[in-house]
């Protein structure tokens, strides 16, 4: 029997475990910070939406030129990007990610409703596309549709793209899907000018279906990714 210095074995294990423990602690810390930053952006958007809604209520008969903001769209895009990154870091099933995703979806819905009201009153509203995808099954077309919408939003920062995970447990979202009678078996689905389109649509298809897209001012990309898809 040859001697073994048990102390060295234990010390090495302790140090290694400490390094891993520190790694786990730092990981938790940075992810908490990320979630906080997402919430901060979300809060900012909430205030923006509330402000716009209040402004809308206050100026019932006032000029439409005071309403609407493309900056909000950019903020929503950035929120989507960050959420998408968190999803890749923590997985789509992570409780925190699902919570933030529901929050993000709700903000998108609120923004969408506000834009609808502006459209009714002012007969003009930002060009928007509502996009439904699914994470519940393998959906190659959803992935490709995500690429197209990301690209379009990069090209046209004023374009509002609202992307929703069909399977997200959110009653407001269920209301929207029932209004448009979205069929989950035919995803991806796009709602443009109140019409529902199923299946993958290329850049050219979308530009033809929504000619207003081409009238939007193109810009160097400042944001990317449309959704957590």
């Amino acid at each position: 029997m040859r001697p073994i210095d048990v102390k060295t074995y234990l010390l090495a294990f302790l140090i290694t475990a400490l390094v891993f423990g520190l790694g786990i602690a730092l990981n938790i810390h940075f992810n908490t910070k990320r979630a906080e930053s997402i919430r901060t952006i979300g809060d900012r958007i909430t205030i923006d939406i509330l402000s716009s809604e209040t402004q809308f209520d206050l100026l019932q008969e006032a000029s439409c030129r005071h309403l609407g903001s493309t900056a909000l769209s950019t903020e929503l895009g950035e929120l989507g990007n960050r959420l998408s990154f968190m999803e890749s870091e923590l997985s789509a099933n992570n409780d925190e990610v699902i919570h933030l995703k529901r929050y993000y979806s709700l903000l998108q819905l609120k923004d969408y409703v506000l834009m609808q009201r502006i459209e009714e009153k002012c007969a003009e509203a930002p060009v928007s596309i509502i996009y439904f995808y699914t994470n519940a099954r393998e959906c190659e077309e959803c992935k490709r549709q995500g690429f197209v919408l990301t690209y379009l939003r990069e090209q046209y920062p004023a374009l509002r793209v609202y992307s929703f995970d069909y399977d997200l447990d959110l009653s407001a979202l269920e209301t929207l899907t029932s209004i448009y009678n979205i069929n989950p078996d035919r995803l991806p689905a796009l709602i443009m000018n109140d019409d529902v389109y199923y299946g993958f649509r290329s850049i050219e298809d979308l530009e033809n279906l929504v000619p207003q897209i081409k009238t939007l001012k193109t810009m160097q990309a400042t944001t990317t990714a449309t959704s957590t898809q």
Binding site: M1, Y9, T16, G23, L26, N27, N94, F147, Y151
Partner: protein, 424 residues
Amino acid sequence: MLSSLSATDIIIYGFMFISLYFQVFLVITFLNRRKALHAEHAVISAHLITPFNAATTPSVAIFVPCFNEEKTLSGTIDSLLALDYPKDKLSITIVDDGSSDNTWSIAQSFATHPQINAFTKENGGKHTALNFALAHTTAEIVGCLDADSYVGKDTLRKLIRYFDDSETMAVTPALKIHNPSSMMQRIQSIEYKIGVFLKKLYEQLDAIHVTPGPFSLFRRRVFDELGVYRKAHNTEDMEMAMRMQSHNYKIRNCATAWVYTCGPKTLKKLYVQRVRWTYGFIKNTIDYRHLVLNPKYGNIGMITIPTACAGLLGIMALLAIGFTNWIRLGFEKYELWSTVGINPEWPRLFHNLFYVRTSILTFVSIILLALTVTLILTAKKYVEGSAKPDIEFFLYIIVYPIIAPLWLMKSVYNAALSKKTSWR
């Protein structure tokens, strides 16, 4: 968070944990033994100025097995003849293992020298040449010097000093690449320096698992008691060390007894050599599997061989995972580009620190990399006296991780299918 770990994550984290554990273990060992190692250097230096004592100086026989070594054999023999050791106590046996070039003529040209015996035999492999030489000597200490290696003048004296301890059964030297000129040789040059440092640490752990062909010395009784050299998957030096370890024979190392070896010049030659070494390690470990995780055999059973095995498996798993990920990424990029065209952009992390990945893996990888660099530079300082990074260091850090997987994969493949390796 931990519940969301996939099987891939568990493999990666497990491998990282073992790698980090082993490196930390080595660092602790070095810090614990640092003073003793320096003291040992001083003792060996002092020994060099002590006159030989005819009564206690052991007789030594050095074997030079050679097969088609016409270019390097003369240099090898000349370096042996120049050794600082009593001439009547040192004999050299050249065994030509059926060379088809001029090796035998060169060997014969040395045969008239009183210290040299030269033999030729039918080709049978290195282990047969060594056993042939063993049968022709009665020296107390025997060793081998590959015919592409050269010894320093004081190397033998330094090594012999370790046999003052009656329990020492073998002593390994410190290997250096002889005149590194090609890029591959320069990479090996730093690799060998790391090897010198690690070998010394392994010695401190009583866990040396290779007694290298170039100039490892043995007490003759090792062969009398444990048997002669075996083919051992073309790595007879590894098998001999494992056999000694499995019989609890003490193997020491002298980190200042320099032996210069001609490293493979090209990637192809290096690849062949490393496939042979790694294949030999796998096969010999299987043959000596009773050592693995057996506390009876101390550190070699509990840490060095198990972590080497885990490292090999881990690298294979990482390669498979990395390869799968690259394929998946490639498909994703293809899908993206075929859908919206190519729109190159800077990664988002350059715009915002939010996008810097901060997983446990990132953090542990940074620590592991820092520890690896520290170990390499510590090895450099230990061997050269300076830790200053040089061109070899950067070549090693950048090129080695790219080329090493080539022979690791081939060795595992060969071992799995029991495909034999070749010497050249």
